[in-house]
């Protein structure tokens, strides 16, 4: 698709960006006293729809569908969005591997709208028809099945598939002609590596485990990060401060939820330049990420309201908005 062919799609996205939630809209949502008031506020803002019940899952699920309906109406090459779907695709792979290898069925939840539907994924794993999987999944699928059958180590199985997910995201980002896809991929992988390092430091994992779990990423020395994690969380914080992740270090010192918020905010910072781009798929990718972030933030507020958390605790978890 020629870059100029994005003029229609980008202009449409610009018109849609007006209805994205700003920080002040999120403040208004937070001012709602209980979950029911929050849901009514969302309905007033056009969330859900006439046939959607006033329930959190139904409204948020419908909003997610709306994102892809809008993108689908633009009749553009969907390859550029692949990088956003890898997390769901690999989640389905992980779920199918566990269901097949443990023989426990019924509790598995697959994401819908993925490249390979859940039932098909189960068939592939059951019949070991790895050739039917995308190339980035084949090796990880075979290794995960083999590992789980031999050692019954569910955590190792997760590590194998999560590492493959990150490698697939990074590879798609590096191959993409869109800067936003590359920046998103690098940010996602860097943030995931840092999360792994922090968790490993807290649980005292071995260097070998960390090497297996972390994916190499431009702008992040994974080997040094793993060594820092081996020495403890304080060493990870020191490493982050010296390697240009000072905000992550501050967030880690503050609290776990502040760190989670920083992770999501970093991705939003990576896509923000797309607000000023008129001739590429970048603003479309940024819109999808911004909508996902918006839905995630609303879900956090609703969950906190359900559980009666104080405003300060909610505010600590609120993500930055794209607009």
């Amino acid at each position: 698709m020629s870059k100029n062919q994005y003029a229609y799609a980008v202009a449409r996205i610009r018109a849609l960006e007006v209805s994205l939630f700003s920080a002040s809209t999120i403040e208004q949502l937070m001012a709602c006293k209980d979950e029911e008031a929050c849901l009514r506020f969302l309905a007033d803002k056009g969330w859900g729809g006439p046939d959607v019940p006033l329930e959190a899952d139904a409204i948020l699920g419908r909003e997610r569908e709306k994102i892809w309906e809008t993108i689908g109406e633009m009749h553009m090459n969907m390859d550029v969005f692949d990088v956003l779907s890898y997390t769901s695709d690999f989640h389905n792979l992980k779920a199918a591997v566990k269901e097949v290898c443990t023989g426990k069925s019924g509790g598995t939840v697959f994401y819908e709208g993925t490249q390979i539907p859940g039932e098909e994924m189960l068939r592939i794993i059951r019949e070991k028809d790895y050739g039917a999987l995308p190339e980035s999944m084949r090796e990880a699928a075979a290794e995960a099945v083999d590992t789980l059958l031999r050692s019954c180590d569910g955590q190792l199985c997760d590590v194998i598939i999560d590492r493959a997910t990150m490698e697939a995201i990074l590879s798609a980002g590096e191959k993409s002609k869109e800067d936003v896809v590359r920046d998103y991929a690098r940010s996602t992988v860097a943030v995931t590596d840092i999360k792994i390092a922090v968790r490993c430091a807290r649980t005292g994992k071995s260097l070998e485990f960390m090497r297996r779990a972390m994916a190499p990423c431009p702008g992040l020395d994974v080997e040094r990060l793993a060594h820092a994690a081996l020495a403890g969380e304080e060493s990870v914080i020191e490493y982050l401060q010296t390697e240009g992740f000072a905000e992550a270090a501050d967030a880690l010192r503050e609290s776990a939820s502040a760190f989670e918020r920083w992770c999501d905010n970093r991705v939003i910072h990576a896509i923000r330049p797309q607000k000023y781009n008129s001739f590429s798929a970048g603003p479309l990718v940024a819109y999808v990420i911004a909508r996902e972030n918006e839905i995630k933030t609303v879900r956090i507020i609703l969950t906190c309201r359900q559980n009666g958390l104080p405003d300060d605790a909610i505010r600590e978890r609120i993500r930055e908005m794209y607009v």
């Binding site: 100029n4 003029a7 980008v10 202009a11 610009r14 018109a15 007006v18 008129s278 001739f279």
Partner: protein, 160 residues
């Protein structure tokens, strides 16, 4: 082969280039801005009038090209089918006089189209900034007007 072209032939070529190149630039610019305008109207039909005005901005180069072509053809009596028999030298002068609007019209309409798309993006998000948004593509118009001026002055100054 070029020596076989008469003065009237060169003059016609100049008029044709002015109308064609400037017209092509405008068609491209208005088309691109139209795509963006359609995108905005799909989501918010109330912005139709504003985006239409911006979409039309790159269309002026085509009009300028047509104007220069028309002046050139009528000045040398070529519109009526007969007219003055121009020398090769005069014909080449007419061609040269038409080139500013032909070339600048093409290039400026191309860039004005792209600027108009960006301006439509501004209106989509901040309709109250319509006046400012329209100024950005309008700035590109300056150079089309300058070339129109030179082409008109040159065409009307050529002695017949």
């Amino acid at each position: 082969m070029l020596s076989a072209i008469t003065g009237n032939g060169w003059a016609l070529l100049g008029a044709a280039l002015a109308a064609t190149l400037a017209g092509c630039g405008s068609a491209w610019g208005v088309g691109l801005a139209g795509q963006a305008a359609s995108g905005v109207v799909t989501e918010d039909p109330s912005k139709f009038a504003k985006v239409l005005v911006i979409q039309l901005l790159p269309g002026t180069q085509g009009i300028y090209g047509l104007l220069v072509a028309f002046v050139a053809l009528s000045r040398f009596g070529l519109l009526g089918g007969g007219g003055t028999e121009l020398s090769v030298q005069t014909g080449l002068m007419v061609l040269a006089a038409c080139l500013p609007i032909a070339i600048v019209g093409l290039v400026s309409a191309y860039h004005q189209g792209k600027t108009a798309v960006a301006a439509i993006g501004v209106v989509a998000k901040k309709p109250d900034q319509f006046g400012k948004a329209m100024l950005f593509p309008a700035m590109v118009e300056t150079y089309a007007i300058l070339s129109l001026l030179i082409s008109i002055l040159a065409v009307t100054s050529i002695p017949v």
